[in-house]
Amino acid sequence: MSNLVEIRDLTKRYRNKAVLSNINLTLKSGHIVGLLGPNGSGKTTLIKILTGALRDFEGRVTINGEKIGPSTKALVSYLPDKSYFASWMRPIDVIKLFKDFYNDFDEEKCIDMLNRLELDEKVKIKTMSKGMIEKLQLCLVMSRNAMLYVLDEPIGGVDPAARDFILDTILTNYNENATIFMSTHLISDVERIFDTVLFLKEGEVVLHGDIDDIRAREDKSIDQLFREVFKC
């Protein structure tokens, strides 16, 4: 399989402080990758670089062989860590917006997912709970037919039952030629759906590998290992 994402000697500084230093990383198609690290380790910065939101970095980053730019944005479906919907919008308005913006957006699939979640398309987003908004965002993002799904804390604000639903949605709706790159703090809840994990510590990759190989080698859960590597 070809390399979907290639990162060579990536460094990102905010003023003089390096937030990511000298990252080298290759991701292939057909994987669900967990991006793990404590607060301030550079997860969101790395995600913003992959999605094209941050352009001033050192090093070389390509997706499907192309440098980060408008053409790679079309390949990446991004779930940011914050909601960006205007408060007057209803799900049907956002669906229209996605339809206009993205050629690969599958409206039917999105509406079907919303129905299964019993989310009303005509209710204002302003009146929705945090969990409902997160589910709506996930439906939109997973309804694109992208090569790379970048999910920044997709289960942060929802209850355990909704978490299961979201994980189920991710497993059911991603196609096997795509890769999902997902950051999270709630490792024990999601580690069963990853096949690869990546530990980020103070802007550097300290661990990257097959999750079952790591479990076998360390005789620990990924959650336990995380607690040891990042012990305060």
């Binding site: 057909g30 299961d164 497993l171 096997e176 024990s188 069963r192 079952d212 859960s221 990924i222 336990q224």
Partner: protein, 124 residues
């Protein structure tokens, strides 16, 4: 969640064991077709690559075979299934003996208790 996993043991190995139990207990019938990797991954709520690895391991052990385009099947080799059943039974007995020993019972005492229990039919 439908299935529980221990998080410190590779999930693919746990899946292999779950399948073995289902095969030797007859829940999955000899020669029957099994679902696609994708459907199984969704059913067990695990990564498709992890499920793929578990099935590859079962194939390596001969408990599952694949027909080029038609999918995967449980082995028709009843002998192999019987053997696997014995292996698992032996593992359970070994565990019993080890745990009874760790509680301070001698082998004779453990045997006596075990036979008493079986004869009384105390376990449902």
């Amino acid at each position: 969640m439908t299935e529980q996993f221990q998080s410190n043991i590779p999930i693919y190995l746990q899946l292999v064991n779950k399948f073995k139990y289902r095969i030797v207990s007859g829940e999955l019938e000899a020669g029957s077709k099994i679902d696609s990797v994708r459907d199984l991954a969704i059913k067990y709520e695990v990564n498709p690559n992890t499920m793929q690895r578990a099935l590859a391991e079962l194939e390596r052990e001969g408990l599952v075979y694949s027909e080029r385009t038609a999918g995967r099947y449980i082995t028709k080799n009843k002998e192999l299934i019987v053997k696997m059943r014995e292996t698992i039974a032996n593992e359970i007995i070994d565990q019993f003996i080890k745990r009874m020993e760790s509680l301070g019972y001698s082998k004779e005492e453990a045997k006596k208790l075990f036979i008493e229990k079986i004869e009384k039919g105390a376990i449902k």
